[in-house]
């Protein structure tokens, strides 16, 4: 059974695109056929995070307008043959696509892939409405900050209003040292405030910046965030994986090897 998952947040810059890239790669590592769809028309970014920016010929709007066949616009990943990217258009705007067209596109993609991952734009306007139209599951990304949590709450309300009730939460950029000091809301605090199920937490990790610089998602590698993303992928598949202890980040070995 094929699933369409939208990665959304409301607020910009909380890590939707990075999360989408890593979840897409992670699911491909676990043997699933995955397509990553960048729905941010006019501000595409998933292509650079995936390191596929030089291979774009056609895009999402081209498929919808009938300028090309679906297969022509799909870009195969460098490492995983079962992972594809459908880039968005850079020179168009959100009104080029309607929610009905997106729903139809998602249905077509579902025939070819086990997972359709939609990277949603920030905001609650047309772009958001398009992205959620075809989805049957939502992952809401937030950070432990008041602004991001407030927007996440609003997004959860809008998702529910759209009859999308399969919603899970990803708490991104958590800093356990600050939580311990009492200067950052804990994962439990965020879950308590938003009252949705947690599917995983990602620490604030410089390895993510390094991996994005190179256009290589880090899911599955031994870094703490690589493991955290892999665990989220397993949970998406329905496996019971205990929440990773993020405190191990500044372990003795890490400090020595990284010279911190």
């Amino acid at each position: 059974m094929s699933e369409v998952i939208v990665i959304t947040s409301g607020k910009g810059g909380v890590g939707k695109t990075t999360t989408a890239a890593n979840i897409g790669c992670g699911l491909a590592q676990l043997g699933k056929k995955v397509v990553l769809v960048d729905t941010d028309i006019g501000l595409r970014n998933l292509d650079v995070v995936m390191g596929l920016e030089n291979r774009i010929v056609y895009n999402l709007v081209d498929i919808i307008e009938g300028n090309c066949r679906m297969k022509q616009a799909l870009i195969k990943d460098k490492h995983y043959p079962d992972l594809c990217l459908l880039p968005s258009a850079q020179t168009r705007d959100k009104s080029s696509v309607t929610p009905e067209q997106m729903t139809k596109l998602c249905e077509d993609l579902q025939e070819e892939f086990d997972y359709v991952i939609l990277d949603c734009p920030a905001g609650i306007e047309q772009g958001f409405k398009n992205a959620v139209a075809g989805a049957n599951r939502a992952l809401v990304v937030t950070t432990p900050e008041v602004s991001a949590i407030r927007d996440a709450d609003r997004i959860i309300g809008l998702l529910e209003a759209n009859n999308l009730n399969n919603i899970q939460l990803i708490v991104n950029r958590i800093r356990m040292d600050m939580v311990k000091r009492g200067d950052m809301m804990s994962i439990e605090d965020v879950v308590d405030i938003l009252a949705v199920d947690l599917i995983g937490a990602i620490p604030d990790d410089e390895d993510i910046v390094i991996s994005t610089n190179q256009g290589e998602p880090l899911v599955g590698n031994p870094s703490i965030s690589g493991q955290a993303y892999k665990n989220i992928c397993r949970r998406i598949l329905g496996e019971e994986v205990p929440i990773l202890d993020l405190n191990v980040k500044k372990s003795f070995f890490n400090r020595i090897f990284k010279g911190k």
Partner: protein
């Protein structure tokens, strides 16, 4: 000022409390100050009849189904009275 006096409360807790109040208010489309006024009014009205534990009163909103829930703990002394009354009835 030294190590101990520099902060009264952890900023994480401040953030959590602010958010809780704000989101509760936004979910029912009214401002946090109105929610505080509602809470104070509730305490005032209920206090006419029962002694309530004012510091632990909370007003919460949940979305499905849309419900406003007031949690109003009653002072221990009142509870003992009720117990005695029940005991007397049983006898």
């Amino acid at each position: 000022m030294g190590l101990f006096s520099y902060r009264h409360k952890n900023t994480g807790t401040i953030a959590k409390d602010r958010l809780k109040l704000l989101l509760n208010a936004e979910r029912i489309n009214c401002s946090p100050s109105i929610l505080i006024m509602l809470k104070n009014d509730l305490v005032k009205s209920v206090s006419k009849y029962i002694v309530v534990d004012e510091n632990n009163v909370s007003v919460k909103y949940t979305a499905i189904p849309p419900t406003l829930t007031a949690h109003i703990p009653i002072q221990e002394t009142n509870l003992i009275n009720t117990k005695n009354r029940n005991n007397r009835k049983n006898r």
